[in-house]
Symmetry: C3
Subunit: 362 residues, 3 copies
Amino acid sequence: MKDARPLRDITWNELQEMDAGRKGPLFNRHDRPYHCLIAQQFSREMLDRLGDLATAVRRIAKSKAGSRFLAGLLDHKRAMIYFSQPSSRTFLSFYAACQILGIKPSEVRDAATSSEMKGESPEDTVRTFSSYFDLLIMRTPKQGFAEKMAWLLSNTDRPVPIINAGSGKDQHPTQALLDIYTLQRSFERAGGIDGKTVVFVGDLARGRTVRSLSCLLTNYRDVRQCFVTDPRLQVPDDVLEQLKAKGVEYEVSDDFAAAVPRADAIYMTRIQDEWDKTPGESGHLDISRYSLTAKHLAQLKMTAVLMHPLPRRGEIEVAIDRDPRAIYWRQVRNGMWIRVALIATVFNVDAQILEYYKLNHA
Amino acid sequence: MKDARPLRDITWNELQEMDAGRKGPLFNRHDRPYHCLIAQQFSREMLDRLGDLATAVRRIAKSKAGSRFLAGLLDHKRAMIYFSQPSSRTFLSFYAACQILGIKPSEVRDAATSSEMKGESPEDTVRTFSSYFDLLIMRTPKQGFAEKMAWLLSNTDRPVPIINAGSGKDQHPTQALLDIYTLQRSFERAGGIDGKTVVFVGDLARGRTVRSLSCLLTNYRDVRQCFVTDPRLQVPDDVLEQLKAKGVEYEVSDDFAAAVPRADAIYMTRIQDEWDKTPGESGHLDISRYSLTAKHLAQLKMTAVLMHPLPRRGEIEVAIDRDPRAIYWRQVRNGMWIRVALIATVFNVDAQILEYYKLNHA
Amino acid sequence: MKDARPLRDITWNELQEMDAGRKGPLFNRHDRPYHCLIAQQFSREMLDRLGDLATAVRRIAKSKAGSRFLAGLLDHKRAMIYFSQPSSRTFLSFYAACQILGIKPSEVRDAATSSEMKGESPEDTVRTFSSYFDLLIMRTPKQGFAEKMAWLLSNTDRPVPIINAGSGKDQHPTQALLDIYTLQRSFERAGGIDGKTVVFVGDLARGRTVRSLSCLLTNYRDVRQCFVTDPRLQVPDDVLEQLKAKGVEYEVSDDFAAAVPRADAIYMTRIQDEWDKTPGESGHLDISRYSLTAKHLAQLKMTAVLMHPLPRRGEIEVAIDRDPRAIYWRQVRNGMWIRVALIATVFNVDAQILEYYKLNHA
């Protein structure tokens, strides 16, 4: 991997080619993820299948019998959820996803606590931990580390799939999957995602969710992407260039009021001031202009949806939570369901789930 | 909830009325807890039923077949045990109680560890976490926060029951339940709690366990309550006024030796110096006069019981642990059993347990 | 226990005698561990049985049906893994071992976090925690504390077995068991451990793994032990005296190159500078002379094995990991399997496992 380009710079077709004919970093078959490292590795076909699977799981889980069916699928597996960077919400979502499939989760918060670890390489630490488990779910502040471990473990006697649960400012592929799934669900009876207008608002410069979702949306036909925020927080040029290269229609603007009525989905984000170069630099921005308040609701299409990756600060008034178009709380739960779908796919029990669903729910 | 009186100022009858006709904060049916927030919400009838259920569970759990029956009751449920204030013993007791019923527990120790949480409201944090779970067990230093979340979640699409595992100096209802259950068990063949004399000793001014147990004991007939300690640590006036209002016989004294021979139960407590207004102020008190030593045992009724909510310091000599009347170690386990009973009742599997018990043990 | 000698100073025969006729600290029957406290408590017969059991478990766990059989053995039990000294690898190994047998684990990282614990004795803390569990797995920095708790709990109404997961510089018996099991596996088809030459390299003065493994190897016939390192890190005299007393052949040397070709097993260890009396004192040593590099591989027997208790620093080049004789990664997993075997034996389900193995695998 030392001489290879980072995965994020590689297209999905190239990735597939790289993987062909050897135990690669991403797929165990050409159409199925093994490691889940970057948003770009998912084709539209995969996204559709994951979404269908998540919906099946969600409905199956409503009954006790269904829950037991799911919990029997992978009850012989153990997962390590290794978060060297804290994130309770992502952690709990994966923890619950494992439990739903019967996988026994173990938590490792920080390897660095142990004095005897001093001097051990991070690769050795993770490989040691991986010895006890069948799945690694990793969150690290180090860009590229999950990839590196995926290559390393794929080349040992005992490969273990790795799911990237967020690596620095870089990648958080399951967040992107849950956003896509939320859009799939929202437009299920409205022709799907194709042809919709998605408005991104807030800190578009530093939010990795915006970057990943924008990329995955290019898998859909005729989706218009609008980036609406203060110019100092606008989306980076490389995101726009990617859209241009793929012929995707997009718009860059600072006029939130004008964007609201045209949106099929509004994707709000908070200011990520933890990435400020000078402490407090984001504090000078007037973000109230890019906040959603009760007065916008009247302008919003009845069929539109309001999303937010959470946590929120003031970008969305609490009073809006009761509006049926506000789906960010459901979005949280979608994250759990899509993670179940992803893990089920990694372990090849997706067909069993769809079969059960057909027999009992369709 | 902003304009409402805090629940602790409201009588049980009033609470029931408040709840009638809507999805209230406490009950899903008039006779059954939904949220478990305060000790006062439990009537004698409920306490008796919980005690019987705890005993059934305790006996069923002795066999492997019984354990498996219990673990199959709620194996489709997941609980979040959210302790923003550390308490390993209460945490483990709830953790074990969940495991006994097959509920898969997840732990959240402190939401504040994550930098990305900064600026999120505590309500949003807990609501996010609740998305992945079917039960929230919460311990917070903030008085009233569990109540607030109970109201909030009861008014969403996806209500989740909340069990208060201790909120500040305020309420710790399951501790009160376990104390009552310990008395129920101890006097099972001696006519029950009615007519007994309970002697409270130690830090009666600041111990919330004393306050709650004193309150719950008013549900029983002819129970005499004695508060024996240094005058500076005596029970607050509002507790005594409550007893007076209900016509309960009580006694306030500083003479421990005189109280011992008359006690059916002695409830020892430690000095809670973590609540000292000036650091070290409790250090000046001579608590050795309110400590139980081997010499008291001869004066104690053969049928009496010695309780302590633990942790203890010097109030009870370790040598006393072997006296059969010392039941504080059993009291610890009773906490686990009564929590199982409570959770089983919240999820309406109490009848199934009693049925199994009747068929297999009676 | 106050007047008794520490267990580590007592021979196994003496221990058995002490235990005869009463609920002792180590055995519930003469041939079976109850508490697992020190490496010396294991006879060769026990080591052989544990090794056979570990192998059976390892093979049974390969299939889903087998995993389910194992997970049904002790699914009515709960374990507390109480690590007041951090060690993620040992923790995870025990956690996974419990999960394999269906035991529900709970984690206690540090009892000291809770302010209300202040003033409670460590014995009360552990006894309280033990109330909720059927097995305690303890790691403490305090030498002898696990032993003390074993005696204390053995003399209560509710004894609970204790497994010592490492106590200070003192004892780490399951590490010794996993090292023996690794040697058993490695020489399975080469006549077993009897007659082999084991070369210990590195920090032999302070590594408790070396001390314990050296002791357990005396159970085998004609094993030659070589201690190869810088004289300032050589093995303590009491270890050598023990070997002398038992008539075991040993060698003390500083010539690594000479030792390599004669070794059947090389047991590498890292410098344990966390025990340095003056910070940095180990830094002055040139340990590169006692590091394994690619150039040694040519000198090493084809049938030899390279072991390391991990974590490693520079003692073994990463490039060596791919050599089939490098078995330290397998050694990590052996730790999990031997812990499963130990716990299964404590709870008397070993015969059931061997029966299943005979029916399905032999």
